[in-house]
C-alpha cells in the first residue's frame, strides 16, 4: 500500500477514535473540538479543489463559508420568529431543518461561485487573488452594515437545527453528521481527482495553454471547479454556524479566508487529506498553545513558514515522501 494511503487511513481512524473515546470518557468538549476539526477540514476540502487541483489561489473563500453561515442564520431566525422570508412570487418560510438549509446553501454558494468566477477568472495570478479577496471583503462589509440579521454584532440561533431522526443537540450525533459530510466530500474529491475533469483541471493548473491546445475550454473548466469548491466550503459554513449557534461577519472576513488557506497549505496543497491534517493540527495547536500564550499564532506562523520553505507537500507530503521515490 502506498504510504499516503496509510496516513490517510490513520487520520480517518483517529477522527473516529478520538470522539468515541471522548464519548465514553464523558468529555463532550473534546467531541466539540473534533466536530470543529471536521467542519474546518470540510471548508478546506472545498478550497483544495480550487487551489490544490485547479491552482486557483482564492483568497476569498470566506465569502462562501460566510454565505453558508448566513444562509443557516437567516433561515433559522425566520423559523424562530415565524415570519416568512418573502411572500412573493411564492411563500418562502424559514426552516430549522438541516437538510433544507443545506439545499439552500448549495444553491446560494453555487450562485456566488458562478458570479465571482465569471468576473474573477478572467484574470489569473495575483490579480485573481486580489479579486477573490475583494469579493470576500464586499460581502464582509455588506454583512456589517446590514442590520436585519445582527449587523456587526452577529446573530444568535438559540436551538441547533434539526436533522430527521437524530438529536443534533447531542454532541456525538452532531459530530456524526459533520463527519459524514466530510467523508462524502472526501470521497467525491477522490473520484474527482482521477476523473477526466480532474485530469484536465490538474493539467490546466500546470499549463493552461496545453489544456486549451487539446480542446479543453479552460475558463469553463475553472468556473465549474470554483463552483464545486464554493458549494463544499459553503456547506462547511452552514455547519460551523450550527456548531456555534451563532453567525457574525467574522465568518466572511479575510482572516477566515486566510485560515482556510492555512489548513490546506499546512496539510499539503492538492493532497486529498491535506485539509483534514491541517485543520486537525490547527485546532491542536490552538488548544495546546492557546492557554500558554494568547499570541500562539506566532508559532503557527513559524510552522507555516517552515512548511512553505522546506516541505511543499505539507504534513501529508512530508510523511508520504517515500511514495515519490517508489513510483
Amino acid at each position: 500500500m502506498k504510504r499516503e494511503t496509510m496516513i490517510n487511513a490513520a487520520l480517518l481512524l483517529a477522527m473516529i477514535a478520538v470522539p468515541l473515546w471522548a464519548y465514553y470518557a464523558g468529555k463532550p468538549f473534546t467531541i466539540t473540538l473534533a466536530t470543529k476539526v471536521a467542519i474546518l477540514a470540510l471548508a478546506g476540502v472545498g478550497l483544495n479543489i480550487a487551489l490544490g487541483i485547479g491552482g486557483l489561489v482564492s483568497f476569498g473563500h470566506a465569502a462562501f463559508f460566510g454565505l453558508g453561515g448566513y444562509t443557516m442564520g437567516i433561515l433559522a431566525s425566520h423559523a424562530q420568529s415565524y415570519s416568512p422570508l418573502f411572500n412573493w412570487p411564492f411563500l418562502f418560510e424559514g426552516s430549522q431543518n438541516m437538510l433544507m438549509i443545506w439545499g439552500v446553501t448549495i444553491l446560494v454558494s453555487a450562485l456566488a461561485g458562478l458570479i465571482i468566477g465569471l468576473l474573477a477568472l478572467r484574470t489569473s495570478g495575483v490579480y485573481f487573488i486580489m479579486l477573490s479577496l475583494a469579493f470576500g471583503q464586499m460581502l464582509y462589509y455588506f454583512a456589517i452594515s446590514w442590520p436585519a440579521y445582527g449587523g456587526e454584532d452577529g446573530l444568535s440561533i438559540y436551538v441547533r437545527n434539526g436533522f430527521p431522526g437524530l438529536n443534533t443537540l447531542d454532541p456525538i450525533q452532531f459530530f456524526a453528521i459533520c463527519f459524514a459530510l466530510l467523508l462524502l466530500a472526501l470521497f467525491f474529491t477522490h473520484r474527482l481527482m482521477n476523473s477526466p475533469f480532474g485530469l484536465a483541471l490538474n493539467a490546466a493548473r500546470q499549463s493552461p495553454l496545453r489544456a486549451a491546445t487539446v480542446g479543453v475550454g479552460v475558463f469553463r473548466l475553472r468556473l465549474v471547479a470554483l463552483i464545486i469548491s464554493a458549494i463544499i466550503t459553503g456547506l462547511a459554513g452552514a455547519l460551523y454556524a450550527d456548531l456555534n449557534r451563532f453567525i457574525s461577519p467574522t465568518m466572511l472576513s479575510w482572516q477566515t479566508s486566510g485560515e482556510i488557506m492555512v489548513f490546506v497549505i499546512l496539510g499539503g496543497v492538492g493532497r486529498l487529506m491535506g485539509p483534514l491534517a491541517g485543520a486537525a493540527l490547527f485546532i491542536i495547536l490552538e488548544q495546546v498553545l492557546g492557554p500558554i500564550s494568547e499570541y500562539w499564532h506566532i508559532y503557527l506562523g513559524a510552522m507555516l513558514l517552515l512548511v512553505v520553505l522546506f516541505a511543499r507537500g505539507g504534513i501529508i507530503g512530508s510523511l508520504a515522501k517515500r511514495d515519490a521515490a517508489h513510483e
Binding site: 480532474g198 485530469l199 484536465a200 495553454l209 496545453r210 486549451a212 491546445t213 487539446v214 480542446g215 475550454g217
Partner: protein
C-alpha cells in the same frame, strides 16, 4: 479534392509599429508538408499562433476545410482538428506521459465534464492514448512523469498528444529544435507517414530536414511572404538566397 485543407487569406497582424504578419495568404493542401521558413523574428511563430487561435489577427480570414474558423477560440479549433506542437514544450510536467496523452483524448472527445469516471481506467481512451504513444515510440515510458523525460522525448510526446486530436491539420513549430542530427533523422520517417493522414505546416530551421521533407516551401521575411514554391524553386530564388539562405544553399 484540390480545395486546400487550410487556407489563410490576407492575414494582418501588428504590434505597435512592428508588422508581424503583412497581408499573408497561404494554403495547405491535402497530403503535403508545407514548410514555413525564415530568419529569426520573421513572424513564423506569430503566424502559427494566429492559425492555432491563441492570437487574433487584426484582419484576414482563416478557413479549415472550407469552414471559416477566424472567430473560433483556441480550444474550439483544437476540437475541429487543428493540432499543434510548441516550439518550447508545453506539457503538464508533474503528470505521467500517459496522463498527458489522455488529456488529448479527453479534450478531443469533448467529454471533459465527467466527475466520477476514472480517466486512468477507461480502456477505450487508454487504447487511443497507447496507439499515439507507440507511433512516436514512447510506449515504454508511458508511466513516467514528464519531468523525467529528455528534451527529445518531450518533443515526441508533443506529437503524440497532437495525434490524439485526430488532426485534420498538423502545425508543427520547430519539432526538431534541439534534437541533434540523429534525433532529427529519427523523426523524419514519422513526419513522412503523417502527412498522408493530415497535411503538415512545418516551421523548421534545420534546412537539411526542410529540403528533404517539404513538398512546398514558403519564405517569410519581416512579416512578408516573399516566396512560395517547390524545393527547387525556392533554392533557385534569388530573393530568398539573399534574404535567408545565404551562399551555402
Amino acid at each position: 479534392m484540390n480545395n486546400p485543407v487550410l487556407r489563410l487569406e490576407n492575414i494582418q497582424k501588428s504590434f505597435g509599429a512592428l508588422v508581424a504578419s503583412d497581408n499573408i495568404s497561404l494554403d495547405l493542401r491535402a497530403g503535403e508538408i508545407h514548410a514555413l521558413i525564415g530568419p529569426n523574428g520573421a513572424g513564423k511563430s506569430t503566424l502559427i499562433q494566429q492559425i492555432a487561435g491563441s492570437l487574433a489577427p487584426d484582419h484576414g480570414r482563416i478557413s479549415l476545410l472550407g469552414q471559416d474558423i477566424s472567430k473560433a477560440g483556441l480550444s474550439q479549433r483544437a476540437r475541429l482538428g487543428l493540432a499543434r506542437t510548441f516550439q518550447i514544450s508545453e506539457l503538464a510536467l508533474e503528470d505521467s506521459v500517459l496522463q498527458n496523452v489522455l488529456l488529448g483524448v479527453i479534450g478531443a472527445s469533448g467529454r471533459v465534464f465527467r466527475f466520477f469516471r476514472n480517466a486512468l481506467k477507461d480502456q477505450d481512451n487508454i487504447t487511443q492514448a497507447n496507439t499515439a504513444l507507440s507511433r512516436v515510440g514512447l510506449l515504454e515510458v508511458a508511466q513516467k512523469p514528464v519531468s523525467t523525460l529528455s528534451h527529445g522525448q518531450r518533443r515526441q510526446l508533443e506529437i503524440a498528444i497532437a495525434l490524439t486530436l485526430k488532426p485534420k491539420v498538423l502545425l508543427l513549430d520547430e519539432p526538431m529544435a534541439g534534437l541533434g542530427g540523429s534525433g532529427s533523422k529519427a523523426l523524419m520517417p514519422l513526419l513522412e507517414t503523417l502527412k498522408s493522414e493530415a497535411p503538415i505546416l512545418l516551421v523548421e530551421h534545420d534546412m537539411d530536414a526542410v529540403f528533404a521533407l517539404a513538398d512546398r516551401i514558403s519564405v517569410l521575411v519581416y512579416g512578408k511572404l516573399i516566396a512560395t514554391g517547390s524545393v527547387a524553386e525556392i533554392r533557385a530564388n534569388r530573393e530568398v538566397r539573399t534574404a535567408y539562405l545565404g551562399d551555402e544553399a
